[in-house]
């Protein structure tokens, strides 16, 4: 394992300190417990948005704290959900009196820890609503399972719900917008290489020089299926199939197309993927009206990518276009 780290135990703390040093104009960082809030938190009268989860997915979530998006992000250890206490503390820190929305990726650990934090907040008289992001179509959904995972679609939920909160929507309305995005976004990913968790020091799976994993999550876990390496276009087709069938997306739809790098993929490859995905959507009569390409929800240094498609309407488009000022996503200000 070769990494730019000091003691693996300090990876998250040192990175958060670096993040604070780099983005002092946008965020403040609290330590003990560790969380990141926007510089002007709490914003009086505005619904606060809190997300969080294991570290190693950067820029998710800290990179999305700022005007027009999250009010706070709570980083856990690498690939491990944070405990309830920092989530609760972050919730208190961003409560401007209009309640707080928890945006949680659907993993048992994240769900349970946020649940406890919400209970603690409620006990303090803070109104909390929770939305669970579960956009990963690689996982078959069912009432009897943990359900689908939350992956790169989370970024779109955070941006759009953040814009709704910023324009003054109340807690129920912000939660409703978030649920709408969750209902309309689907994602699937592929890994070319595994990643190495710093304290583990070993990749959690190994792939031969001609193998790839289809339907991976974002924690270096194996995917649904291991196949032979294929040309980029064939891989894109393989991911887009289940995505488009799921809602389904149909001719006449307007969509946002997100091609998300897993951390170690060169940008030139992401654009090769984007080209094919846009081509396939166009052939199906689906219009790509908004786009996002880059590393947004990563798995450390993993090579690979995910494709997300979000069905847009006028409201979602307007909220997507609204100004945002975070370390990793910025426009309009």
């Amino acid at each position: 394992m070769k990494k730019l780290v000091n003691d693996p135990k300090n990876v998250v703390d040192e990175a958060v300190a670096g993040f604070a040093a780099a983005h002092g104009d946008i965020v403040r960082v609290s330590s003990d417990p560790t969380f990141i809030v926007r510089a002007d938190a709490p914003v009086s009268g505005k619904v606060g948005l809190v997300s969080g989860g294991g570290s190693g997915h950067e820029p998710l979530h800290g990179g999305f704290v700022g005007v027009g998006m999250l009010d706070a992000a709570v980083p856990g250890a690498v690939f491990t959900s944070p405990t309830p206490d920092p989530i609760f503390a972050a919730t208190q820190a961003v409560n401007g009196g209009a309640g707080v929305l928890h945006i949680v990726k659907n993993y048992t650990g994240d769900v349970l820890n946020f649940e406890t934090a919400a209970d603690l907040a409620l006990a303090e008289g803070i109104e909390v609503r929770t939305v669970i992001v579960n956009d990963d179509v690689a996982v078959k959904d069912s009432l009897y399972t943990a359900g689908r995972r939350g992956v790169a679609g989370t970024v779109l939920v955070e941006k759009i719900a953040g814009a709704a909160a910023e324009r003054g929507d109340d807690l129920a309305a912000v939660a409703a917008v978030a649920e709408k995005v969750i209902g309309q976004v689907r994602t699937m990913g592929v890994a070319l290489t595994p990643c190495v968790v710093p304290h583990a020091g070993e990749p959690s799976f190994t792939l031969a020089e001609d193998e790839i994993e289809i339907g991976i999550g974002i924690h270096g876990e194996p995917g649904r299926e291991r196949i032979q390496l294929e040309p980029a276009d064939a891989i894109v087709d393989r991911l887009l199939g289940p995505i488009l069938e799921d809602i389904p997306f149909v001719s006449g739809d307007s969509v946002l197309l997100l091609v998300n790098g897993m951390g170690g993929t060169p940008q030139i490859e992401l654009y090769i993927v984007f080209r094919r995905a846009a081509e396939v959507l166009a052939a199906k009569g689906i219009t790509v009206t908004r786009t996002l390409v880059g590393n947004f929800t990563t798995s450390l240094e993993m090579q690979g990518m995910s494709i997300s498609v979000l069905k847009l309407d006028d409201e979602l488009t307007e909220l997507w276009d609204a100004p945002v000022q975070t370390a990793a996503l910025r426009w309009g200000r």
Partner: protein, 214 residues
Amino acid sequence: MTNDTINLDQLTGWLTRFRDLVTEQVSYLTELDSAIGDADHGSNMTRGMGAVVEKIQASPAGTVDELFKGAGMTLVTSVGGASGPLYGTFFLRIGTTAGPVASLDAPGLAAALRAGLDGVVARGKAEAGDKTMYDVLAPALDAFDAALLASSDITSAAAAAYSAAQTGRDATEALLARKGRASYLGERSIGHIDPGAASTSLLFQALTEILGEE
């Protein structure tokens, strides 16, 4: 030796011994979690139980509820992930049910453990066969209760529970996961022992060992 009751020292010893076992087997637990999860169950449990024992040593509990509420709270605030809240709730409920006493008799321990299991189910919604810690905890407690019908000896009930725990742990290998991270693997989750089932089996190993001592 037989035990009609289990006292605060023994219960403290149980937690300490559990800490030792997860620490000894940290790589094993993490390897199990590599295969079907995210390779952190060993370090999660070691970190959490390490914190629990450290806290107990710094300020020993005066009653059973204090001991287990403290342990549960420490797990909740130091582990994260799925196992933190689940093990945390398990111990919190044990404490709440036990109350401010200095020791538990066999029915008292059985009730407390059962309340712990109910807490795990309330939080995690796991059912039999989902390939989780439930698949060790439930049969172990059933065996514990069944043994108590024959005798009020905690030692032999714990031994029965540990035996059922091992069987339950090994049986998770053949299961297709329906809860937790392993569920995302679908068919590929078959053929691996569930890491949480393995750590829960260590919990009963710790109990039998501590009752066998002295």
